[in-house]
């Protein structure tokens, strides 16, 4: 028998693919853009879920990596577009694979010192320190005028991908969708792997992990870095979706939203981020259509979920999470 959660997961994956296909058939590209937004936010949250869901690391600063990914896309494309060489004579690029690679690398390199310092602490300290580091990067972005400062950085055209016309909504959606599935696959592999076993033990009981001879710090740091990289990749896509790298991608509201996505969907679950992102964008779209003050109601809903429905959407639909 297939577990109920597996069926729900499949349904969610199919819905996300079906909506843009149907929308294109009816000539409604807006819904393709909306679905792309879901896929990218879900990807960012899958990244955070590696740290938060598997490792129990409540990073309140993942917007830093989301934003760095976005700025990587923006800065590289701007240099290539204006034919202004950057460091070491590198000319920038408008090729998505290159941008992704650079976004992943930069996020990993930034996550290393942030993680190394933050992970010396735990609990509330960890939450506040990750928040503070993200703010540091946010303030840097808005006070450094070279790349737009407070105004952000516009991309003149969406970056390119070999053989695919990314300017059209549907192909770009499919790229994002494919990367989301890839990241969820990575999440599932990590969760079931030796590293995942150590990481999940670090969340449940780090003394136990240390007592078998595995240093929790190292495991957490690696998880934090992987998590940051995946979220950074999502940031690069987000900048391409909006053709704009905005300082708001680095803001602490963004960090909060990423956590909200995970919790709305269901913490530590493979499809939690996707379920959460679908729900979130659905709220944003439907409530936002009714009232300008939709975040007020989002606040009420979120409060209700935290106080009364702790398993999130998947918790309601599929019951308690199980562990092997």
């Amino acid at each position: 028998m297939i577990a109920r959660e597996t069926i729900i997961n499949l349904v969610l994956a199919v819905i996300l693919l079906a909506v843009p296909l149907i929308a294109m058939a009816f000539g409604e590209p807006f819904y393709v853009t909306l679905s792309t937004r879901v896929a990218i936010l879900a990807l960012a949250a899958v990244g955070l879920n590696i740290a938060l869901g598997l490792g129990g690391l409540v990073s309140f600063g993942h917007a830093a990596f989301f934003g760095i990914g976005g700025y990587a896309a923006g800065i590289l494309a701007t240099h290539a577009f204006n034919a202004e060489p950057m460091l070491f004579g590198f000319e920038g690029t408008t090729s998505m694979p290159w941008i992704w690679l650079i976004a992943l690398t930069v996020c990993g390199l930034v996550a290393l010192p942030i993680g190394a310092i933050s992970l010396r602490t735990s609990g509330v300290y960890f939450i506040m320190i990750t928040l503070a580091f993200a703010q540091m990067i946010y303030y840097f972005a808005i006070s450094w005028p070279a790349y737009g400062g407070e105004d952000g950085l516009s991309l003149s055209v969406r970056n390119s991908f070999p053989l695919i016309n990314t300017a059209k909504p549907l192909p770009f959606f499919l790229i994002c969708y494919a990367l989301l599935l890839l990241a969820m696959g990575l999440f599932a592999l990590i969760r079931g792997s030796r590293f995942g076993a150590a990481l999940q033990t670090a969340r449940q009981n780090d003394t136990r992990l240390a007592a078998v001879g595995i240093a929790p710090f190292n495991i957490r740091l690696i998880a934090f870095i992987i998590s940051a990289m995946v979220t950074g990749l999502a940031g690069a896509l987000f900048a391409d979706l909006n053709r704009f790298a905005s300082p708001s991608m680095l803001s602490w509201h963004m960090s909060g939203e990423l956590i909200v996505l995970i919790i709305l969907g269901g913490k530590g679950r493979l499809f939690g981020p996707l379920a959460g992102a679908m729900l979130y964008v659905l709220f944003e779209y439907t409530l936002g259509g009714i009232t300008e003050r939709w975040q007020f109601f989002l606040g009420l809903i979120l409060l209700g979920v935290v106080l009364f429905a702790r398993g999130g959407l998947l918790g309601l639909l599929a019951g308690k999470a199980r562990h092997g």
Binding site: I117, V124, M136, S143, P145, I259, K267, R293, L303, V306
Partner: protein, 304 residues
Amino acid sequence: MSTALLIEQLLNGLQLGVMLFLMAAGLTLIFGVMGLINLAHGSLYMIGAFACAVVASATGSFWLGLIASLAAAAAAGAIMEVVVIRRLYDRDHLDQVLATFALILIFSEGSRWIFGSFPLYLDIPPLLQGAVSLPGGGQYQLYRLAIIAVGVAVALGLYLLISRTRLGMRIRAGESDREMIAALGIDIQTLYTIVFALGAALAGLAGALVGALQSVQVGMGEPVLILAFVVIVIGGIGSIKGALIGAILVGLIDTMGRFLLPKTLALILPAAQAGMVGGALASMLIYIVMALILAFRPRGLFAA
């Protein structure tokens, strides 16, 4: 660079520090006693500012506004505690973060609903308008000095409250041993509500005082909240003394960094670049200091 300018900047730093202390004291008290991380503390600051602005413009009296800010923030805090926060004491920090994040959305959008997106303005009361002369020439706003004085008075008052009064004794007991205090027959729920309302009133006071220096608008509490987090992380969460020293440190470092870094860099860089690099560095400075402190003392300077 003149001495007067330097003194002025030092006083500005002190004033920022004092204001941060008003915020951080409540946060750290609430964490120390209830073990709760409250992101919505910045909303209480905003509520204080709005209450002051609205009452002051209706009555023409800043002082009535100030009283209103204390009352409104304390009441909002008490209601918040009874309706929502109380359910979060036994939850993990993640749930606390999320629930209080939800409260921010509710308070911010709610205020925007009521007051609109345009900022309100609050005048400095006539009594405190004007300036005083500084040694070495130059003038300094009397109102800012008054804020510093209020901060010092609050710090002193908190010290006396916690070390000398029955309420303070209970707060200290609550910090060290929650079960003990319940066993002694102290009504812990009421104690928690009082502590929360006290922290809220301090935040509201800070909001009202700063409201007269800046504009009063939705979202004004958030940058301050994050600075207050930096303060209590540096000072050691749960420690009022840490909050005071951390707040002054952050206030001075931030202000002096913005003042001195561009000037210092101008000695080695062209003026335009010095301004840019210096400005960017200054905006990151307190976070860098925080990272350095935590690298050596992961639980802050005065860990409880």
